[in-house]
Protein backbone atom coordinates (compact mmCIF):
# COMPACT_ATOMS: atom_id res chain seq x y z
CA UNK A 1 0.00 0.00 0.00
CA UNK A 2 1.39 3.37 -1.03
CA UNK A 3 2.18 5.84 1.72
CA UNK A 4 -0.11 8.81 2.23
CA UNK A 5 1.26 11.97 0.61
CA UNK A 6 2.89 14.33 3.11
CA UNK A 7 1.51 17.78 2.47
CA UNK A 8 4.43 19.49 4.24
CA UNK A 9 6.75 18.98 1.27
CA UNK A 10 3.93 19.59 -1.19
CA UNK A 11 3.36 22.99 0.41
CA UNK A 12 7.03 23.97 0.39
CA UNK A 13 7.42 23.04 -3.27
CA UNK A 14 4.29 24.76 -4.55
CA UNK A 15 3.71 28.10 -2.83
CA UNK A 16 0.96 30.11 -4.50
CA UNK A 17 -0.15 27.23 -6.70
CA UNK A 18 -2.94 24.72 -7.02
CA UNK A 19 -1.95 21.08 -6.59
CA UNK A 20 -3.95 18.13 -7.86
CA UNK A 21 -3.43 15.06 -5.68
CA UNK A 22 -4.51 11.59 -6.79
CA UNK A 23 -7.72 10.30 -5.24
CA UNK A 24 -5.79 7.87 -3.01
CA UNK A 25 -3.78 10.81 -1.66
CA UNK A 26 -0.42 9.24 -2.48
CA UNK A 27 1.10 11.51 -5.11
CA UNK A 28 0.95 14.84 -6.89
CA UNK A 29 -0.62 14.52 -10.35
CA UNK A 30 -0.54 18.12 -11.49
CA UNK A 31 0.45 21.63 -10.41
CA UNK A 32 -0.68 24.92 -11.88
CA UNK A 33 -1.15 28.61 -11.29
CA UNK A 34 -4.87 27.94 -11.56
CA UNK A 35 -7.06 25.07 -10.44
CA UNK A 36 -7.96 24.39 -14.06
CA UNK A 37 -4.30 24.14 -15.10
CA UNK A 38 -3.62 21.63 -12.31
CA UNK A 39 -6.76 19.76 -13.30
CA UNK A 40 -5.72 19.48 -16.93
CA UNK A 41 -2.25 18.24 -16.03
CA UNK A 42 -3.72 15.60 -13.73
CA UNK A 43 -6.20 14.53 -16.41
CA UNK A 44 -3.36 14.02 -18.88
CA UNK A 45 -1.86 11.59 -16.37
CA UNK A 46 -5.16 9.74 -16.09
CA UNK A 47 -6.50 11.32 -12.90
CA UNK A 48 -9.88 12.77 -13.79
CA UNK A 49 -11.03 13.46 -10.23
CA UNK A 50 -8.07 14.61 -8.15
CA UNK A 51 -8.24 16.30 -4.78
CA UNK A 52 -7.29 19.94 -5.16
CA UNK A 53 -5.06 21.69 -2.66
CA UNK A 54 -4.74 25.46 -2.72
CA UNK A 55 -1.31 26.37 -1.36
CA UNK A 56 -0.97 29.90 0.09
CA UNK A 57 1.64 32.15 -1.52
CA UNK A 58 3.81 32.32 1.60
CA UNK A 59 4.54 30.34 4.74
CA UNK A 60 3.50 33.20 7.01
CA UNK A 61 1.28 32.20 9.91
CA UNK A 62 -2.42 32.40 9.11
CA UNK A 63 -5.17 33.78 11.32
CA UNK A 64 -8.59 33.97 9.73
Amino acid sequence: MAQRLKLEKTYRDNLGKWVAVDSKQTKVMGVGKTLEEASQKAARKGEKHPIFLQVPSSLESIVL
Binding site: R4, K6, L7, E8, Y11, R12, W18, V21, S23, Q25, T34, L35, E36, S39, H49, P50, I51, F52, L53, Q54, P56, S57, S58, L59, E60, S61, I62, V63, L64
Partner: protein
Protein backbone atom coordinates in the same frame (compact mmCIF):
# COMPACT_ATOMS: atom_id res chain seq x y z
CA UNK B 1 -14.80 8.70 10.14
CA UNK B 2 -11.34 9.62 11.35
CA UNK B 3 -8.94 11.99 9.63
CA UNK B 4 -5.37 12.81 10.50
CA UNK B 5 -4.20 16.34 11.09
CA UNK B 6 -1.87 17.51 8.32
CA UNK B 7 1.57 18.87 9.07
CA UNK B 8 1.99 22.17 7.23
CA UNK B 9 5.21 24.22 7.04
CA UNK B 10 5.36 27.71 8.52
CA UNK B 11 8.07 30.35 8.30
CA UNK B 12 10.36 30.71 11.28
CA UNK B 13 10.59 34.21 12.72
CA UNK B 14 11.73 36.07 15.82
CA UNK B 15 8.61 35.10 17.75
CA UNK B 16 8.95 31.42 16.85
CA UNK B 17 12.60 30.90 15.85
CA UNK B 18 12.48 27.13 16.13
CA UNK B 19 9.07 26.48 14.61
CA UNK B 20 9.17 24.99 11.14
CA UNK B 21 5.72 23.47 10.88
CA UNK B 22 2.36 23.18 12.58
CA UNK B 23 -0.43 20.61 12.38
CA UNK B 24 -3.81 21.66 11.05
CA UNK B 25 -7.23 20.00 10.62
CA UNK B 26 -7.09 19.95 6.83
CA UNK B 27 -9.38 17.24 5.45
CA UNK B 28 -10.52 16.00 2.03
CA UNK B 29 -14.14 16.77 1.21
CA UNK B 30 -16.37 16.66 -1.86
CA UNK B 31 -18.49 19.56 -3.10
CA UNK B 32 -21.32 18.99 -5.54
CA UNK B 33 -23.33 21.35 -7.70
CA UNK B 34 -25.94 19.87 -10.02
CA UNK B 35 -24.13 16.99 -11.81
CA UNK B 36 -20.62 18.28 -11.11
CA UNK B 37 -18.35 17.55 -8.18
CA UNK B 38 -14.92 18.69 -7.04
CA UNK B 39 -12.76 17.16 -4.32
CA UNK B 40 -10.67 19.55 -2.26
CA UNK B 41 -8.71 19.83 0.96
CA UNK B 42 -10.46 22.19 3.35
CA UNK B 43 -9.55 23.57 6.76
CA UNK B 44 -11.91 22.91 9.65
CA UNK B 45 -12.24 26.40 11.13
CA UNK B 46 -14.48 26.66 14.18
CA UNK B 47 -13.94 30.42 14.20
CA UNK B 48 -15.47 30.92 10.78
CA UNK B 49 -19.17 31.76 10.59
CA UNK B 50 -19.71 30.05 7.25
CA UNK B 51 -18.08 27.76 4.71
CA UNK B 52 -15.98 29.72 2.25
CA UNK B 53 -14.23 28.39 -0.83
CA UNK B 54 -12.08 29.92 -3.53
CA UNK B 55 -14.02 31.05 -6.58
CA UNK B 56 -11.92 28.78 -8.81
CA UNK B 57 -13.52 25.82 -7.06
CA UNK B 58 -16.95 27.25 -7.72
CA UNK B 59 -16.10 27.83 -11.38
CA UNK B 60 -14.96 24.20 -11.68
CA UNK B 61 -18.35 23.18 -10.27
CA UNK B 62 -20.02 25.20 -13.01
CA UNK B 63 -21.34 27.93 -10.73
CA UNK B 64 -21.88 31.47 -11.99
CA UNK B 65 -20.11 32.92 -8.97
CA UNK B 66 -21.20 36.57 -9.01
CA UNK B 67 -24.86 35.68 -9.53
CA UNK B 68 -24.99 34.61 -5.88
CA UNK B 69 -26.05 36.74 -2.94
CA UNK B 70 -23.20 38.73 -1.42
CA UNK B 71 -21.96 38.68 2.14
CA UNK B 72 -18.91 40.52 3.42
CA UNK B 73 -16.44 39.09 5.93
CA UNK B 74 -13.79 40.54 8.12
CA UNK B 75 -10.99 38.49 9.68
CA UNK B 76 -9.53 39.26 13.07
CA UNK B 77 -6.72 41.21 11.42
CA UNK B 78 -9.30 43.54 9.90
CA UNK B 79 -9.00 42.48 6.28
CA UNK B 80 -12.34 42.21 4.53
CA UNK B 81 -13.57 40.16 1.61
CA UNK B 82 -16.80 39.45 -0.22
CA UNK B 83 -18.27 36.02 -0.78
CA UNK B 84 -21.01 35.06 -3.22
CA UNK B 85 -23.35 32.43 -1.85
CA UNK B 86 -24.77 29.41 -3.62
CA UNK B 87 -26.65 26.28 -2.64
CA UNK B 88 -24.36 23.30 -3.09
CA UNK B 89 -23.92 19.92 -1.46
CA UNK B 90 -21.09 19.01 0.87
CA UNK B 91 -19.93 15.42 1.32
CA UNK B 92 -17.67 14.38 4.18
CA UNK B 93 -16.87 10.76 4.98
CA UNK B 94 -19.66 9.64 2.67
CA UNK B 95 -22.32 11.79 4.38
CA UNK B 96 -23.99 14.35 2.15
CA UNK B 97 -25.79 17.54 3.15
CA UNK B 98 -27.11 20.64 1.44
CA UNK B 99 -24.76 23.53 2.16
CA UNK B 100 -25.18 27.25 1.54
CA UNK B 101 -21.56 28.16 0.85
CA UNK B 102 -19.69 31.30 -0.11
CA UNK B 103 -17.16 31.65 -2.91
CA UNK B 104 -14.43 34.32 -2.73
CA UNK B 105 -11.97 35.48 -5.34
CA UNK B 106 -9.24 36.28 -2.84
CA UNK B 107 -9.31 33.57 -0.20
CA UNK B 108 -6.01 31.64 0.19
CA UNK B 109 -7.73 28.51 1.49
CA UNK B 110 -11.04 26.75 1.91
CA UNK B 111 -12.64 27.03 5.34
CA UNK B 112 -15.34 24.86 6.90
CA UNK B 113 -17.22 27.04 9.36
CA UNK B 114 -20.12 26.89 11.76
CA UNK B 115 -23.00 27.20 9.31
CA UNK B 116 -22.71 24.53 6.62
CA UNK B 117 -20.32 22.24 8.49
CA UNK B 118 -20.38 22.34 12.30
CA UNK B 119 -24.18 22.42 12.28
CA UNK B 120 -24.27 19.31 10.07
CA UNK B 121 -21.56 17.10 11.57
CA UNK B 122 -20.31 16.14 15.01
CA UNK B 123 -16.61 16.99 15.10
CA UNK B 124 -14.23 15.79 17.77
CA UNK B 125 -10.66 17.12 17.79
CA UNK B 126 -7.92 15.06 19.41
CA UNK B 127 -4.78 17.14 19.02
CA UNK B 128 -2.53 14.82 21.04
CA UNK B 129 -3.44 11.90 18.76
CA UNK B 130 -3.37 14.18 15.73
CA UNK B 131 -6.85 12.98 14.84
CA UNK B 132 -10.22 14.46 13.97
CA UNK B 133 -13.29 12.26 14.19
CA UNK B 134 -16.32 13.31 12.19
CA UNK B 135 -19.75 11.76 12.51
CA UNK B 136 -23.07 12.56 10.95
CA UNK B 137 -25.49 14.41 13.26
Amino acid sequence: MKFKYQRIPVASNNAFPNRKSIIKPLIPIRLRYQKNFVDIYALIDSGADDCLFNAEIGAKLGIDITSGEENSYRGITGQSTIAYFHKIEIEVGGWKHPCYAGFCYDTPLSALGQDGFFNLFKIQFNYSKSEIEIKNK
